[in-house]
Amino acid sequence: MAFDAIFQPIQIGNLTIRNRVVSTAHAEVHATDGGMTTDRYVKYYEEKAKGGCGLCICGGSSVVSIDSPQGWWSSVNLATDRIIPHFQNLADAVHKHGGKIMIQITHMGRRSRWDGFDWSTLVSPSGIREPVHRSTCKTIEEEDIWRIIGDFAQAARRAKAGGLDGVELSAVHQHLIDQFWSPRVNKREDQWGGSFENRMRFGMEVLKAVRAEVGDDFVVGMRICGDEFHPDGLSHEDMKQIAAYYDATGQVDFFGVIGSGCDTHDTLANVIPNMAYPPEPFLHLAAGIKEVVKAPVIHAQNIKDPNQAERILEGGYVDLVGMTRAHIADPHLIAKIKMGQVDQIKQCVGANYCIDRQYQGLDVLCIQNAATSREYMGLPHIIEPSEGPTRTVVVVGGGPGGMEAARVAAERGHAVTLFEAADSLGGQITTASKAPQRDQIAGITRWYQLELARLGVDQRLGTRADEATILDLRPDIVVLATGGHPFLEQHPEWGYSENPEESLVVSTWDILNGRVEPGKNVLIYDAICEFSGMSAADYLADKGAKVEIVTDDIKPGAAVGGTTFPTYYRSLYQKEVIMTSDLMLHRVYREGDALVAVLENEYTGTQEERVVDQVVVENGVRPDEALYYALKPRSRNRGQVDLEALYAIQPQPCLSEEGEGPLLFRLGDCSAPRNTHAAIYDALRLCKDF
């Protein structure tokens, strides 16, 4: 029996969990209308339960009190009885498939924003400002403390009344309970601060009140940090002492352990380790906690692969593994293990598109799985074969949009030919994976390679399709996902030429793909501030170049998400890359062997020059439209997508109409430059009805 450690049930309190895999608490950002769980919310968790996940802990940072705002992240609001019937729907949906579901409950204290909704006065043990959310707060009063303790108990009652299987008290991520714990934030000298027992008091009173309210036959767990990684914060030894202290009450049914605090940008990046991190980087912290507690320990952080999970469980480091992003990427992970389809699992690559959206208050989505959290719209994780005619589908372009289009069309049962000009699939993903610490993004392509091979898609690699080759195949449908090229021709002053001998600037793609040798003294001008510029800077610095990255935006990497720019910054600062903002690239000219870049301050117009041997420009993507316009007049639908149908996840009306010539659609960057998710989403919603 393979994976026996994963499939060994476990008892938590009175609850039997069918396996050792947990989707741990994260903010979904789709509880709406004052924090009530929606159909979308229910379907999102139902899909995980259907896919075999043992335990889902939903509702990261679900609030218990009126002064812990829920609106910023559309989190669940347990401060009102209105939530109870919503929980009943949620519990039924998960239980129906044999899963268990709990909710994380918390008061976020100072870790929120006050400048909206109720314009709440945030509270914290000593009124110290929180830097990540730039939030100020008042020093909490005794009355607030007891009110909030009571709110925790009421929230737990509501979870129980709604049929959920338990609650997880959040004492992690610098929420109110661990704000009391941490001497970094708690400077009080009354009974709520100072000594160990005093700092523990608030959490202990919460635990006692909750347990008194829900009794023994309801699971109450606690999520804690394994080490705050701040010199003035809680160390691993402190956390072991805290865990043992609470465990000794016998009232905690499980501990979830997360490595790292998160009240700075740098530590926040640890909490949801992106692809720059090794596998399970903080497992040792969870294992350290497990050494000192009797209750089962859950640990989630960069556990993405079933074999990895099995190894961790077999080693006995922890009792349950959180595979949360792994389930966002593929909610059928467990079912696929059971079906012997481990190779078909869409594995999380740590791009952190999900969490970086969440920190912007946007709904959690997966970079590579457009169906996740769109189950309620009818977007399928498993594509059913078409009952209609078998069509000949030609997809041009093997980037994410083209690969998804080919996959979905092939799952529908059509005969699919995929053209890719390069020698391998991946498109811009391949380029992105060339940078230091970014190689794992190629996992997106790896999955498609396996799936397209499994589905028997005719892959014509190294083949640039033209009008004739496409029409020779007598396609019923042509999907163009030809992408674009670096947009260097926008400003003639930059001196870009198609002839590499003459061009004064090169693109980040040229650098990352190794088409040009890295210079020794390089200026990168990054008008976009997303991944490419940062990756090129990291790549060049890694090759030994002196690098300055300049942007006219507010800072280099400004558009990179909150859990990823810190890993770039760590690398770039370490390699002494200079990061300069507010300068536009005005002009580049050659002077002898050197290149001179003329930069102009956006706010003063002052010009300054850099003498370098290489100028790299990142100015986004320009769509390659030639093939589209060549095919458009030959197509039955003149290349048009019916937007109403597309956005309503309905079949394109032209699919059921008769006529001459193939249907033509384009998606991804060859239409307008967007991102990986956009291309995959368009491909999925367009092709799922082919």
Partner: protein, 665 residues
């Protein structure tokens, strides 16, 4: 001259036949005693021959008719010849009618012989050659010469027709005929089959196989238990003399027709087994000698003439060669295709397991993974060596009722060791869903269940089998249930057919049978089948072992599936290769049995092959580049479930339980 010589010749032939018979009987009596009722058996013999054996023979119409003419003609001619020419009753009785009858009988036999001769002109490879090639000539010699010597008797030719030369020639031919037909029959020629076969039918070790006037033939497929208490009883069969005397007799009945060879999956896969050769080797062993004279297909990869033995010598040598190599015995999947095909009702599988018992229990020489599996069974009560406490992990989220809690239910769901197998867990979960949809009152033994002992028994470890069986029987004895339902035909067979001898008597149903009943009672309703073409693979232990061919097909029909049958289906279904511990002993061949079976599936053009056995599922799913998806019947049913029409549901009303259908397909 003939008048004088014929009675002498016939008397001599009969005397020689008696001498031959004495020798043959002595050979058989080397075997161990067996409890058989001699008189009852002899009395039952004609019916066994004319009904049960003929039923098998008649599967080949042409050969059946040939045999009726030849054998019927011979028996009649032989009796009449003794009367007319031996006792000289030709002219006196019934106005010479006996002579005319004798003419007719010998003529009929001659016509039959011509067909035998035609068959022998280009014999299929499964037929043995050697002495069998002269048999049609011998038959003709006998029938023609008897016909000729009878012509004067009825007056068609003058008494003194021809010269003495002609008479001598005729007598010479008759001597040849008589020698083959009378002396050869008992001494050991091709005609031995008639003598040994008749007695074999009379003294068959499985009398219950045969029909009686009151009912059809019963199946008798359970292995017979070893008496482990008796210190004198050998642990299995080491040497030919360790077989019971009627087993030895049974081997002698073989006509070397090779129907077993044609049906044997191991032979077809190029593994070193040919059931016909094995039986012939037992015949060689019983009389002593080498297999050099054997004139049929050898064990694949094993030349003839290198093996020898005798009644008191080992069949399998510890080192080197004896009568049979161990790997021949371990190649068998115990699929019973040979037994099912054998027109002489020989029990090949019994013999093979008898010999395996000795190798495992006395030599401790089970090949490949065998010892590991047996050790696992001894240590953990399951062949995989899994934690006995993990038996219910597959159902952690199903809240299955336990017998220990309920004590009494309608249906005890026997999980089998597939409970540890991720693939079979899907079947089990589907079955639970179906039982719940039909409102069946059921429970499982949970961690009290142990492996049924099937694999241990087929691998020859009778001690472990009996230990498991006795403990299962003791557990089952604690509870009350109307029937056992299982999705594992091996458990089904062992519980239903082999526990009885150890004191456990149960009504056991395969899940397909039970689901078919539920559907007939209107307790299940299905949405119509929308998939592609489907074929059905009969598991050996369900079909040939237990005669259940229809229920699975009825269920598939109820699902709206029209089964595209494989050429080899029903009682002729080809084994998947998974039975008898064959995947464990893993004797190499030229190809894999499941690959061949998937080839059969491919020929039907089916996209899906429905199965009803965890072993078959595992073997067929293990085929690389498989043509078809493999789904258990329970899975197909669970997928198709819709609410049954109101008012049709029988059985106690139950509250809806949560159904876990975590596997998405």
């Amino acid at each position: 001259m003939l008048d004088t010589l014929l009675p002498i010749l016939i008397a001599a032939a009969l005397a020689l036949a008696v001498i031959g018979a004495g020798r043959r009987v002595r050979l058989w009596r080397q075997g161990r005693p067996a409890r058989v009722s001699l008189l009852k058996g002899l009395a039952a013999m004609p019916r066994r021959y004319l009904v049960d054996l003929h039923h098998v023979v008649a599967r080949d119409k042409a050969m059946s008719n040939t045999h009726v003419a030849t054998a019927g003609g011979f028996v009649a001619a032989a009796v009449l010849m003794i009367l007319v020419h031996g006792l000289g009753l030709g002219a006196e009785v019934a106005e010479g009618a006996l002579g005319w009858l004798l003419l007719a009988a010998s003529a009929t036999m001659f016509v039959g012989s011509c067909f035998v001769a035609r068959r022998r002109r280009h014999p299929p490879s499964r037929l043995s050659r050697g002495p069998w090639m002269r048999l049609p000539k011998s038959l003709m010699a006998f029938s023609l010469s008897v016909f000729a010597i009878t012509l004067p008797t009825v007056g068609l030719l003058p008494e003194d027709f021809g010269s003495w030369m002609l008479a001598l020639a005729l007598l010479a031919v008759l001597v040849w005929g008589l020698g083959e037909m009378f002396f050869g029959m008992t001494w050991g020629g091709p005609m031995k089959h008639a003598f040994a076969g008749a007695l074999h039918l009379a003294f068959h070790r499985r009398a219950e196989r045969f029909s009686t006037r009151t009912g059809g033939s019963g199946r008798s497929t359970g292995l017979k238990a070893l008496d482990l208490e008796d210190p004198k009883a050998p642990l299995g069969v080491e040497k030919p003399a360790d077989f019971t005397w009627n087993q030895l007799l049974g081997f002698d009945a073989c006509v070397q027709c090779g129907r077993c060879e044609a049906a044997c999956p191991a032979f077809a896969a190029g593994q070193p087994l040919n059931p016909k050769k094995l039986i012939q080797d037992m015949v060689v062993g019983m009389a002593g000698g080498s297999d050099a004279a054997y004139a049929g297909s050898p064990y694949p990869g094993k030349p003839v003439g290198e093996h020898q033995g005798h009644a008191q010598g080992p069949i399998v040598a510890r080192e080197g060669k004896a009568l049979v190599d161990a790997e021949t015995l371990w190649s068998c999947t115990t699929c019973r295709a040979c037994v099912e095909e054998c027109p002489m009702m020989i029990e090949h599988v019994d013999a093979i397991v008898d010999m395996r018992r000795f190798l495992t229990l006395e030599h401790g020489n089970t090949p490949n993974k065998g010892p590991e599996v047996l050790d696992n069974l001894i240590a953990t009560d399951n062949p995989g060596g899994f934690d006995p406490g993990a038996r219910m992990h597959w159902a952690a989220d199903l809240e299955l009722p336990l017998m220990a809690d309920l004590q009494q239910v309608d249906v005890l769901l026997w999980m089998g060791d597939g409970a540890y197998d991720m693939r079979n867990q899907r079947t089990l979960r589907a079955l639970v869903k179906v039982l719940r949809a039909a409102g069946v009152d059921f429970a499982v033994l949970g961690n009290e269940e142990r492996d049924s002992g099937d694999v241990a028994r087929r691998l020859g470890d009778e001690a472990t089998f009996q230990s498991l069986a006795q403990r299962n029987i003791a557990t089952l004895a604690k509870y009350r249930f109307l029937q056992i339902v299982t999705c594992d035909p091996h458990s089904f067979h062992v519980l239903g057919n082999e526990y009885g001898e150890l004191g456990g008597h149960y009504r056991v149903h395969h899940h397909s049978t039970f689901i078919a009943e539920l559907h007939e009672e209107g307790r299940l309703a299905f949405r119509p089948w929308k998939g592609g073409r489907v074929t059905y693979h009969d598991p050996c232990y369900l079909g040939r072992y237990n005669g259940e061919f229809e229920a699975p097909r009825n269920v598939l029909r109820a699902l709206g599936i029209e089964v595209a049958e494989m050429e080899r289906s029903g009682f002729r279904s080809r084994c998947c290769g998974g039975g008898g511990g064959a995947p464990i002993t893993d004797i190499p061949g030229k190809q894999r049995i499941p690959d061949m079976r998937m080839g059969d599936v491919r020929e039907t053009g089916a996209e899906l092959v429905a199965v009803g056995c965890p072993q078959c599922t595992a073997m067929l799913e293990g085929v690389v580049d498989s043509a078809a998806e493999v789904r258990d019947i329970a899975e197909l049913v669970a997928d198709a479930l819709v609410e049954p029409p109101a008012g049709h549901a029988k059985g106690p009303a139950r509250t809806a339980r949560p159904l876990a259908e975590e596997v998405v397909s």
